[in-house]
């Protein structure tokens, strides 16, 4: 186990190293920091002097070393537009995105487990066919189209829900502001998180269904039936537990994917999160902010994947860790 842990840790570091190299290459080639600093009305000599002072004429390795050192100390540069440290800007936007992911996760868990279990234990009922049919339609609709459809229906036609922004926020601990504290906030977060959930929901229903059907065929479930245990207890206590193992692995990886899809939902709903900020930064060619986003998101991906792998190793006693490492 320990060897596996160490190997997994080194792999994570190697990936972060590659991400930092790519980020640095982008920073090196995208935009001109001098122009952002002094404008265009400065003579060539002063320019060269400034370049020397800023270390822009140093070798690639030296510059990368400085970049990596600063990044490790939490300094990812200063945003051209916000005139603030890029990391601070991103951390300010992070709660909005995380709340969106959290809301979507709640919806996914709340719907996919009952629906997945139901479609597995009643494979031939009409409701199952409807659910499976809807799930393949759900897979085929891009998330931004679901979002637009919902806006058109609930905001434009029925005027029931607001179509953009976060609404009233409740502040927690001075830093975190949450949507889950007020009715207005809940109304604002409902559509974006439902749209975000819609992309993963069919996948999870199908996954839980197929795993559940496989488990229900196994010997121990048949034995439990023979013993006379109530079917409800067999389904939700005995079978479901063993179904959730693959669900955890897939789920963990999907958290990373969801961060990508937040860019789409945030754009449609003008949700003031990281994804929306990233696209604005791209339009403004705000290089430090782009690079900081890249590193933060890469970090989120690497951390979730590593944790998922470790949990999988811990939860599943049959996995051969020695061979995997």
């Amino acid at each position: 186990m320990f060897a596996y842990l160490v190997k997994r840790f080194f792999q994570a570091i190697a990936v972060m190293f590659v991400i930092s190299l790519i980020s640095f290459a982008i920073q090196d080639n995208l935009g001109d920091p001098l122009r952002e600093l002094v404008g265009q009305s400065v003579s060539e000599e002063v320019r060269q002097q400034l370049r020397d002072e800023l270390g822009l004429n140093d070798s690639f390795l030296k510059q990368y070393g400085r970049f990596a050192w600063n990044a490790l100390h939490g300094d990812l540069g200063t945003s051209y537009f916000f005139k603030e440290p890029a990391l601070t800007v991103i951390l300010k936007k992070l709660p909005a995105t995380l709340e969106l992911v959290f809301g979507a996760t709640l919806i996914i868990i709340g719907l996919s487990i009952p629906l997945g279990v139901y479609t597995a234990i009643r494979p031939n009922s009409l409701a199952t066919r409807v659910i499976m049919g809807l799930s393949i339609i759900g897979i085929s609709i891009p998330v931004f189209l679901t979002a637009i459809l919902m806006i058109f229906l609930f905001a434009v036609e029925l005027r029931m829900l607001p179509s953009y922004g976060r609404g009233d926020l409740v502040h927690l601990f001075g830093y975190w502001s949450t949507n889950f504290g007020s009715w207005d906030g809940l109304k604002h977060i409902f559509m974006p998180s439902l749209a975000l959930a819609s992309i993963m929901l069919p996948l999870f229903i199908r996954l839980i269904r197929s795993e559940m059907m496989e488990t229900l065929e196994s010997e121990y479930v048949k034995y439990a039936y023979a013993k006379g245990i109530a079917p409800r207890r067999i389904w939700f206590v005995h079978a479901l537990k063993n179904t959730l193992l693959p669900v955890i692995t897939v789920g963990g990886v999907q958290i990373g994917t969801m961060v990508a899809y937040t860019i789409l939902t945030e754009t449609v709903f003008q949700w003031p999160g990281m994804g929306f900020m990233f696209l604005e930064a791209v339009n403004r060619v705000d290089t430090p902010l782009i690079v900081a986003y890249l590193i933060v998101v890469g970090f989120i991906f690497v951390v979730t994947n590593t944790i998922v792998d470790l949990i999988y190793g811990l939860v599943n006693p049959t996995i051969n860790l020695a061979r995997m490492s």
Binding site: P142, F144, L145
Partner: protein, 314 residues
Amino acid sequence: MNSIAMDAPLTRWQRFKKSNLVYDFRRNPVAIVSFTIFLVIVLASVFAGLIAPFDPYDPRQLDIMNSELPPVWQSGGDDLFLFGTDAQGRDLWSAILYGTRISLIIGICAVALQAFIGISIGLVAGYVGGRTDNLLMRIADVQLSFSTLMVAIIFLAVSQAMFGTETFNKYALFMLVAVIGIAEWPQYARTVRATVLAEKKKEYVDAARVLGFGPLRIMLRHILPNSISPIFVISTVQVANAIISEASLSFLGLGMPVSQPSLGSLISSGFDYIFSGSWWITAIPGIILVVLVLVINLLGDWLRDVLNPKLYKG
């Protein structure tokens, strides 16, 4: 082939007609309907130049006075424009025909690129084994752990900022194919590698080696045909995913430009007008996109049930 026992050797086409695949297809209404719709969409987009009443790429045919006309069946619609017009006065029906073509081209080319890279790497990893295999599969794991959409968004956003919108728009099609193609190769590589590992031990491979065939020939002519059915199944799902990815990227403004719209960019250009009631600019391309992806997914599901390949799980 020895054909003494048969009256006449069957041609490839005749053998295909007798296969399980065709037998099952004829008895599956969902498959028939999906395939028909898919064929209609493909043909309509291939012959877009003949069907479309206008050329959506020709700015001289645009008249701003015609902008935001509703479809024919609504009051205020014009007989000239079947599905109405967009905000620039472009005929939506023509734009959709050409847009579907772009979406299909990108989807199919991107998957062809994925398949080429993935199959080559999968074959090499499985056949050579050892350290090469280890390294390639580790890279595949890392690549898979990053969502395709994320990689594509960042790559396209950075290149757009770097080259400027004008240059970017010129090469948008190639960039989309390249980025979607490169990001998803591990799907193929893993499956092909799994089949290669299973097939490599069989006697016919030994026999081929004894006959003195080189590794390249053995890989391509002997082992690869055995992994055709999983490749087939993956490909259908991947085409559907690639079309969705392309639409999403174009929606974000990181794909096809408005002057040469795909279905995604059409939806995106209509989104700005949805609040003023011009729902058709978004809704009609949206419906076409969903129907296209849906029939491909249904065909993929059907293929998976019929061919029942051992797909790599995980």
